[in-house]
């Protein structure tokens, strides 16, 4: 019909789909699922880094880390606002998160064990996120694309700060260098898993690419990320923990070792190091805050103020 044709044409011509435009139900559902997962990842992702706010070893680093965690909360706000353009509110999505019915990025189920992990998250995890997200700035759904433009700008700032943190450690004392290397050892493989399963096992990819919600395959993005990281690791003076990593002249790209997908599946199934801690902490914050939200609602009802 005409609506479907207009939608298809808009996608084909790279015109943005906007909230009031007609869109297929499956397109809407896919977007909501992906944006919710992204929003949840931002707010769960505050935890591993906030773990070091109180212990940051210099005031400058403490300020940078606080600003970063604050940005993540802000990203969560943009993204929940973007889902609202599709008629799905934040409260509903949070309930699903707390009930374990919606996911967040598995990477946040790994622990931050040392200060260097803050750097490794910035360099590798934010780096991987950016590699995933930059194409989303051209995503077919307007509000999501615009949110991603702002988010990517801030993420790339975080990524540089993480890199610089690691550089300071790598060039610091022997203990600091070892701390940095240890962090990279622990975060490298989980970061590669952030791009999702190999292309031949990826469930939603083909339809998402047709809809221009997704623009590149998992393996393409993963390769791009590896090729970016290798020279950066050299400058850092840190070793990526993969004996099979080497330049492949013929492909014009780096070969890398096999990823342990069984670990990925375990973390997805809830058996990662911190799955329980993360979701319990989130639920606790929400439950402990219930009386505050109720007070704000009651006050607004009495005084006609928009809720806080």
């Amino acid at each position: 019909d005409a609506l479907r044709a207009a939608f298809d044409a808009a996608v084909a011509e790279d015109t943005r789909i906007e909230p009031r435009d007609w869109m297929p139900d499956a397109y809407r559902a896919t977007l909501v699922r992906q944006m919710a997962q992204h929003a949840h990842s931002e707010i769960i992702g505050m935890q591993p880094e906030a773990n070091w706010i109180t212990r940051a070893p210099s005031l400058r680093r403490k300020a940078i880390l606080m600003a970063k965690v604050q940005d993540e909360a802000g990203h969560g706000l943009y993204l929940y606002s973007a889902t609202e353009t599709l008629g799905v509110g934040r409260d509903e999505l949070l309930d699903k998160l707390h009930a374990g019915r919606q996911r967040y990025s598995s990477i946040f189920n790994y622990p931050t064990l040392t200060w260097a992990d803050v750097g490794a998250i910035g360099w590798l995890v934010d780096g991987a996120a950016i590699t995933n997200q930059v194409p989303l700035c051209r995503c077919s759904y307007g509000p999501y694309a615009r949110a991603m433009v702002r988010i990517c700008k801030e993420e790339s700032f975080h990524q540089r700060q993480g890199y610089e943190l690691l550089l300071a450690l790598s060039r610091g004392t022997a203990a600091q260098h070892a701390m940095a290397q240890d962090a990279v050892n622990r975060w490298w493989w989980p970061s590669l898993m952030m791009f999702g399963p190999p292309d031949d096992e990826s469930a939603h990819s083909a339809q998402s690419m047709a809809w221009k919600i997704k623009r590149h395959s998992n393996d393409e993005l993963r390769q791009r990320f590896v090729d970016i990281c290798v020279p950066q690791a050299e400058v850092l003076g840190l070793t990526l923990p993969d004996p099979d990593l080497r330049w492949n002249e013929s492909r014009g790209a780096h070969d890398y070792g096999e990823i342990d997908w069984s670990e990925f599946q375990e973390v997805l199934r809830g058996n990662g190091p911190c799955n329980e801690e993360r979701i319990n902490r989130r639920r606790a914050a929400h439950d402990n805050g219930a009386w505050v939200r109720e007070a704000a609602t009651a006050y607004a009802a009495k005084h006609g103020e928009a809720q806080a």
């Binding site: 505050m46 005031l59 604050q70 200060w115 943190l165 004392t173 902490r281 914050a285």
Partner: protein
């Protein structure tokens, strides 16, 4: 600057310690907007602290290398976060004071005037934020009213210290108490809360922070804050 150093240290410690406490909220706030707001306030305070401590010496040596009794912050800011109402009450008491103080400082010509002039706008936001929440909690539900009143009552005896004289400050702190009380009374009144009747200080508990006497909770806070820095003496970060 030298003349202002004791005041810069005390006010810097106030800002640093409160920033540290507020930083504990990150990821734990009752609503996402408050994760943003509380961290934002913490960042402003941390910025103030860095400017003030740098007037006295190396900011990191001062923050991470001093023992408890060398800190000069008022005890109010080191009180544990407690529930959201306690955090808001602490913030209200402190921010109203800080806005009055920085306004006065900004009008003077001491070494602290530039910092105060710059910070007074952010402090006005902190005060506004605390006021709004005081209203919502005080005049919200029965539970929130009870919690907010408990918080105000419990922290009241830590407020008198804010007005004790401070070396190196060209502001009459005692003179700020009347306008402070007037503003706090107005907000509490609008929030349907009682102004506490108890003493606003006790000679040994609250009121000695400026001389380096703190509360038991402060030692644990510093242990967490300083441990990593102390574990790597001489390292750069």
């Amino acid at each position: 600057v030298r003349a202002a150093a004791p005041a810069a240290l005390a006010l810097g410690d106030d800002a640093l310690v409160l920033a540290q406490r507020l930083g504990e909220w990150a990821g734990n706030a009752p609503v996402l907007e408050e994760d943003v707001a509380l961290t934002n306030i913490a960042l402003d305070l941390l910025g103030q602290a860095r400017t003030l401590l740098s007037l006295v010496g190396d900011e990191d040596e001062l923050a991470f290398g001093r023992e408890e009794h060398e800190f000069r912050n008022v005890q109010l800011v080191e009180r544990p976060n407690g529930d959201f109402a306690e955090t808001i009450a602490r913030q209200l008491f402190f921010s109203v004071h800080q806005e009055l103080l920085f306004t006065a400082l900004a009008a003077g010509d001491s070494a602290l005037a530039p910092l105060a002039a710059k910070a007074v706008k952010e402090v006005a936001y902190h005060r506004d934020h605390a006021e709004r929440w005081t209203l919502r909690l005080g005049d919200g539900t029965e539970e929130s009213h009870r919690r907010m009143q408990d918080a105000v009552d419990g922290l009241w005896r830590y407020t008198g210290e804010l007005f004790e004289p401070l070396d190196g400050l060209d502001v009459d702190l005692a003179g700020l108490r009347a306008p402070w009380l007037e503003r706090v009374t107005a907000v509490l009144g609008r929030a349907t809360l009682e102004v506490p009747q108890g003493a606003d200080r006790t000679p040994w508990a609250a009121g000695a922070g400026r001389q380096g006497v703190h509360t038991e909770a402060f030692g644990r806070m510093l242990a967490e804050m300083q441990h990593l820095h102390r574990a790597h003496p001489g390292a750069s970060w």
